[in-house]
Subunit: 374 residues, 2 copies
Amino acid sequence: MKAIAVRPGAGSPEVVDQPVPEPAPGEALVRICRVGIDGTDYEVIEGSHGGVPDGDDRLILGHEAVGVVEDANGTALEHGQYVVPTVRRPPAGVETNDYFERGEPDMAPEGEYVERGIVGAHGFMAEYITSPYDCLVPISAELAPWGFLVEPISITEKAIEHARATRSAFDWRPESALVLGTGSLGLLTVAMFAETLDYERIYCLGRTDRPHPTIDIVERLGATYIDSRETPVSEIAGAYEPMDVVYEATGYAKHAFESIDALAPNGVAALLGVPTDWSFEVDGGRLHRDLVLHNKALVGSVNSNRRHFERAVDTLSSLPDWVLESVVTGVHGLEAVDRAFPEATARVAAAGRASTAASDDDTTIKTAVEFTGI
Amino acid sequence: MKAIAVRPGAGSPEVVDQPVPEPAPGEALVRICRVGIDGTDYEVIEGSHGGVPDGDDRLILGHEAVGVVEDANGTALEHGQYVVPTVRRPPAGVETNDYFERGEPDMAPEGEYVERGIVGAHGFMAEYITSPYDCLVPISAELAPWGFLVEPISITEKAIEHARATRSAFDWRPESALVLGTGSLGLLTVAMFAETLDYERIYCLGRTDRPHPTIDIVERLGATYIDSRETPVSEIAGAYEPMDVVYEATGYAKHAFESIDALAPNGVAALLGVPTDWSFEVDGGRLHRDLVLHNKALVGSVNSNRRHFERAVDTLSSLPDWVLESVVTGVHGLEAVDRAFPEATARVAAAGRASTAASDDDTTIKTAVEFTGI
């Protein structure tokens, strides 16, 4: 079968031939339909994040997948059921651990998990995968074409669950919410805030000139677009309003600290970005005092568990089609795999090893690879 | 009647004569027994925090009080009942607001409250006070001598409630806890961690040479003393162990940021200090990434509400007498009020206006003023 793999640091993925995997007892065989691509995939391609399984020299990519059960292999699943696989598995050679037994692999510390398609385990960009049946979350045939968005939505489900938990000791009534970032995760989160949560006023920070499709999506969702070049995060509270919720999806470290300034009293900032080391000056006294005197909270959040995937399926069903159609700017077959990875292709082109198919298309928001039509 | 007041910035408090207050309907008249003194009182005395009531030029101090009902004035209280008053009240001229109606004045933003003895309302350092009866929390006669510790303990009750809330979205099993600071609040928190919470391993950071009574208290409680001059907060995880809980009671802003380094995966730091502005460099990229990839949380906490006071009364009853006797290093009558405020007295002495009674006694931990014996 065909699969998309990378030698970390190689700069671009390649299509490879692999044997079709055999499901072990308790596993199902899944025929993959579509796999989404996000920033983490590019980090793995670059070699700045993740790693190959022990003993391998390349990694099959992909952690945002939707497929269909080809062989239930005696498990509780049924042939033909569409499913979305979760991402974390116990480390190689380990059957389970406390975190997996509690259904909370998203809370496992480093060394207690591998992540399919990211670190230590092959991913889902292949014609077939196997997976323990309880790591496969059912999704309806109707939603299946968008099923590769379940994983990114589940990331926000978890972050918002944790952010709300931080405010659960009192009667919290959030009205205003700010999303930092206009990538696909930021835009899906703006859509969730507008469509499934009760935030009355939603803002989204980007740094793109008008006109731009991301700004169109923000505004069509009824949210206010804020250009970070005109209004830095630290000035948003004064220029717009203090925010009950900040959702950081930029990976820009100053935003994590400036989000304290952006928060209203009793507000919470959920941090999701994964920056590299970067030292800079902060008014730490003021930020510390502000956190304390105004009961503010910061909460970091990574990964998600089955519960969040199930909630994400519900959320996906309540997002308008136009949002999904606008956010997903390309679904490409294996024959056009370079178009599915425009950033990698652009980098390769920039490095002088140009592929004629490459184009640095800055209107690309979210792409996916299609292995089988739905 | 006698009261202890300050003209903010004057540098030391003074004993003044005041008319005995008359309880309004719904208020009781309370004869004050003892009032504790903490860092906030010194900030008010210095003029760096708080403020007088509108139209006044001085503030009666005191927010950590215990007294006895002198005149229940038709309320549900009884004559002779020992009580501890809560601190926040609605702003002058305002009967209530949403936060007070919900019983959560501790979550009110600036402008929506005054604080007795701190900002905008006279405090409890007087022979008599009046208070709405529902702001008076009953305490037994047996505990009343220590009743002035209920307010500081309630501050920790709230902080811990909020810290636990941040971790309520998953199955959190904290074992290790680190208290930053060996002031009275830090020591009472170490005692709570040891006596009423389930932390298996407790650490307390100070910067005092041995032998010292604060270190003795820490160690007698079974906790490990860490000298910050030998082990900075950012190195505690490596030198001792990563902490599931960090409780910051130093007001030293770098500790707020270094607490991220001290935390274990899935840990939470509760911040309580109130520093002044101070800019310094942080590796913001590393701290941001660490918060995210390890699901860490920071939560600021200020003040407390009646529920926390009630819980603090329970906690107080379960702390060993030796802890209370060791933490409270002096209870002084009005005739020796300068001994109750050793830091103010020491500062005045240092400024060349020496009071012969002054001594900068570095074994002082917690003092109180006594108005009436119990």
